[in-house]
């Protein structure tokens, strides 16, 4: 099973010498009792149920209707069975959008955010002081700023005539957003999301004991070999959790809409943008919900693949 543990088994043992009998951790250290514990859980669970689980279930229902924003079907939606799904799967535009989304996830999340995030965390691993703070500060700033501001910053940066990038590169007139829309949103999303991976890997790298690295270095291992043989096996769980989360987030990210709006000619129309256009601009709510549900299923598959990889890790241990 997948769970989050800050490693009490590592951190706490390091801080507290473990001696004598160590009974199983007390099931109820604070003496809460079942009833009070349930009481603590209920408010959060109610909110989650009403505003998260119910809408998700509703999506499934809407996906089999011909519900529309306007017109006759808005007042009396009819159940049309799997029509929406067959229509979607047969739709060239949907399939292209799916492919673009996979490119987007692979390029900006797996390679961009995770790769860059790890590289920064590794380069800064034993740095303290101003350099680390400045680099981390800028990376985190790009993460923390509101998306509508950030989107405009990138529109300005990539502007064809007066953009800072073209001015720096000395190639005015290069229309990045028109000629390379996918590349633009992939780089944009990498820029925007790297902070999460960087912080997660920075925390993970602190869990790699110095003595392990020093042992490898004494044995003459190169940096690459140290990474492969010492660091990576140790943080494999962090890597997979990170990839899982950022893959899902990126898959459902709507922010590229603010930059390219899916264009030009649907060449950067990733699935969230597609759904938005179909359901809200186009008014086909039922069809949009069906595509949303397909997205849910794909997300589930992504999640299960990562969870399987995580599970496999535990078996040999």
């Amino acid at each position: 099973m997948v769970q989050v543990t800050s490693p009490p088994d590592e951190v706490v043992e390091g801080a507290r010498p473990v001696t004598g009998a160590s009974p199983a951790p007390a099931p109820d250290a604070a003496g809460l009792g079942r009833a009070r514990a349930t009481g603590f859980l209920v408010p959060a669970l109610v909110l989650i149920l009403v505003f998260l689980v119910v809408p998700a279930a509703w999506t499934i229902y809407l996906g089999v209707t011909n519900y529309r924003l306007t017109g006759l079907a808005a007042a009396h939606p009819e159940v049309v069975g799997l029509d929406n799904y067959t229509q979607a799967l047969g739709d060239e535009r949907f399939r292209t959008s799916l492919l673009l989304t996979l490119q987007f996830v692979l390029g900006s999340a797996v390679i961009g955010q995770a790769g860059l995030g790890f590289a920064i965390a590794f380069a800064l691993r034993d740095r303290r002081g101003p350099l680390r703070r400045v680099v981390e500060g800028f990376v985190l700033l790009s993460w923390i700023l509101p998306s509508s501001v950030v989107a405009f910053l990138w529109i300005a940066l990539l502007d064809r005539d007066a953009g800072t990038l073209n001015a720096l590169l000395g190639i005015p007139g290069t229309a990045w957003l028109l000629d390379h829309p996918m590349l633009s949103i992939i780089v944009f999303n990498t820029w925007r999301g790297t902070a999460f991976s960087m912080m997660l890997y920075a925390a993970a790298l602190e869990n790699v004991p110095r003595s392990h690295l020093e042992t490898a270095r004494l044995a003459g291992a190169s940096t690459w070999q140290q990474l492969r043989d010492v660091v990576f096996p140790r943080i494999r769980g962090h890597v997979l959790t990170n990839l899982l989360l950022i893959s899902l987030w990126t898959f459902n990210d709507f922010a590229p809409f603010l930059i390219t709006a899916g264009g030009p000619e649907q060449r950067s129309e990733i699935l969230p943008v597609y759904v938005y256009k179909v359901a809200l601009s186009g008014g086909e709510l039922g069809f949009g919900a069906a595509i949303s549900f397909i997205m849910l299923l794909i997300n589930l598959v992504i999640a299960l693949v990562y969870l399987r990889m995580l599970g496999r890790r535990k078996e040999p241990a």
Binding site: Q3, V4, T5, S6, P7, V12, P27, D28, A29, A30, L32, R34, R36, A37, T38, F40, L41, P43, A44, L47, I48, F51, P55, A56, W58, T59, L116, A123, V134, F138, L141, S142, L145, P146, S147, V149, V150, F152, L153, I155, L157, G163, T164, M199, L200, A204, N207, G237, T241, N242, L248, F254, L258, V275, Y276, A279, A289, S292, M295, L296
Partner: protein, 290 residues
Amino acid sequence: MTTDTAPVPTTEPTRPTVAVRHLLAQIGRYTFLCAILGFFALPLLWLATAPFDDTPTVTASLPRFTLDNFRALLDNPYALSSLLNSVYLAAGTAALVVTFAALAAYALSRVRVPGRDALLYGLLLLSSIVTGTATMVPLFELAFRLNLIDSRLGVILILSGGLLPAAIFILKDFMDSTPTSYEESARVFGASPLQIMRHIVVPLVRPGLATVGVWAVANVWGNFLVPFLLLRGPDKAPAAVIMYTLYTEGGQADLRLLSTFSLLYSLPVALMFVFVSSRYGFRFHGGIKR
């Protein structure tokens, strides 16, 4: 680095190569870090210069310094009130999320609930899957039936529902790494569970609460889909929605207004982040494992 001081159990001639390789690695590392710095700083330049330029363009350049642009802000009827709306939404959501998530995370961390990890992970997956776009339609329907259309409370509740699973996830991480002996000690002295919560647990996990609070505020501050969907009319609209309308509506964007508003809209989250990270350290506690 200690490579060059460590005894190198090899023959003499390799010593210089070790030093050279070490030097090259250092140069490589700094070059990489400088490139990273450039990459992340470049898009932000415009935000730092344009608001103070008397004739702002989309190019980042040394400004001819002026504060006149901020007057454009005062002239716009919705600019300042939208920031207040954002504060209202962010504060309400953060308070709700931190309180509820802390209670739930504590119960999950300290009492063995059957299937708690499956439950938590399932909800987390759901919350990262079911984002605004996928459930846009049902959310609108739901709000309509609960009479929450054009209600800021509705926005707060919906945002809280989406943020809670991850907030519980993060906070449980903090609580799990707090030794239970603190609470047991208080219990032996006769403290009630609520006293333990108030006297011991809350002060101990304050960095975690701050992290979640900041994270929730930043999320709400930047979210425009939910308020865009649920709030009618610009008088209740938060800054995210106003910002969006500024550069999508009405042909040529007013760059004076856009740049100053961007800056003013960005500053609160940036300042809050600086404050919290200097006070508590904004990082993952031990990291997320497995």
